[in-house]
């Protein structure tokens, strides 16, 4: 129990998100209507992804500083779960976009940028799998991971703001942004972000432990 308190919190928060996200009153907004509730499910995927990729980049730096393969395993498994979060974020975003913006893919700058971001991280996995030597694999992919992170942040948070985007809070687009001002949405949204992120971290932890077992069997660790 000592080590699993955060998993319990994750489950409680996501369960709360499902209940409150569907049942609590939501603002009645044009175009969005009831779909505003997707904010508690679609947006946390991206938040979770960015949080876990940040952790992954930090672990890559730590690997390069220490040469300890443990950190490389943390980094790669965090990227794996982040890719799942990103793919889910893209997919849910497309469904949401179809009903609010009119088509699944409208070439929105943020849509394009997040797709590019996903490709960059898929290349990280490809790069890893193409190098046989364990230390070399870790070293080269750690460097790549840090660069990938440095590319992802402007792609997601800076470039879409420089031009018009359909996403709220970007470019000249009005739309909702309740994070600061609307307490009722925030009451679900923040717990949702924390809950989904912790859930992702739990899945990452499972994969990390499996990876440790595998590495010990291969006598890498």
């Amino acid at each position: 129990m000592r080590k699993s308190w955060w998993k319990i919190i994750a489950v409680i928060l996501v369960a709360y998100t499902i209940i409150a996200g569907f049942l609590l009153e939501a603002p009645r907004l044009v175009i969005l209507n009831e779909t505003i509730r997707a904010m508690h499910f679609h947006v946390p995927m991206w938040f979770g992804m960015v949080i876990m990729l940040t952790a992954s980049a930090i672990f890559s730096i730590r690997y390069l500083r220490t040469g300890n393969l443990k950190f490389d395993i943390y980094a790669v498994e965090l990227v794996n779960i982040s890719i799942l979060f990103g793919v889910l974020g893209l997919a849910t975003g497309m469904v949401w976009a179809n009903f609010t913006w009119g088509e699944f893919w409208s070439g929105d700058p943020k849509q394009n940028a997040s797709a590019i971001g996903m490709l960059i991280y898929l290349a990280y996995i490809l790069l890893r799998n193409s190098i046989a030597d364990r230390q070399q694999k870790a070293k080269i992919s750690s460097v790549y991971n840090i660069f990938a992170y440095a590319a992802l942040i402007p792609l997601l948070f800076i470039l879409p703001r420089l031009t018009d985007s359909l996403h709220p809070g970007n470019g000249g687009n009005p739309g909702f942004n309740a994070y600061e001002l609307d307490g009722r949405l925030r009451m679900v949204f923040y717990p949702a972000v924390i809950g989904w992120s912790l859930l992702g971290l739990w899945m990452a932890e499972l994969r990390i432990r499996l990876n440790f077992i595998k590495s010990k069997l291969n006598e890498d660790l």
Partner: protein, 84 residues
């Protein structure tokens, strides 16, 4: 694992970043605005609770499975430790 510390720091930084990005407010009138169509009928006759119950059950099912998987991982870890 020190992973939590990183998560905490990252989420704090991120929410600070987020707080700066707001653009257009949602007013309290937005909640009472009856001209926008919402799924009020579904709420009125209570069927929404059925939906929430179903989603929640599936979520709990997956969590149960994840816990079971974790127990299997733990067993493997122990086995490996005993071997060495």
């Amino acid at each position: 694992m020190k992973i939590y510390k990183y998560l905490l720091t990252a989420s704090l930084l991120f929410s600070a970043f987020l707080a700066k990005t707001q653009k257009m407010a949602i007013e309290s009138e937005d909640y009472s605005n009856q001209s926008i169509e919402m799924a009020d009928a579904m709420r009125a006759n209570g069927k929404i609770y059925v939906l929430v119950a179903i989603v929640l059950l599936i979520f709990i099912g997956f969590i149960f499975y994840a816990i079971k998987t974790e127990q299997k991982v733990k067993k493997l870890e122990k086995e490996l430790e005993d071997k060495n």
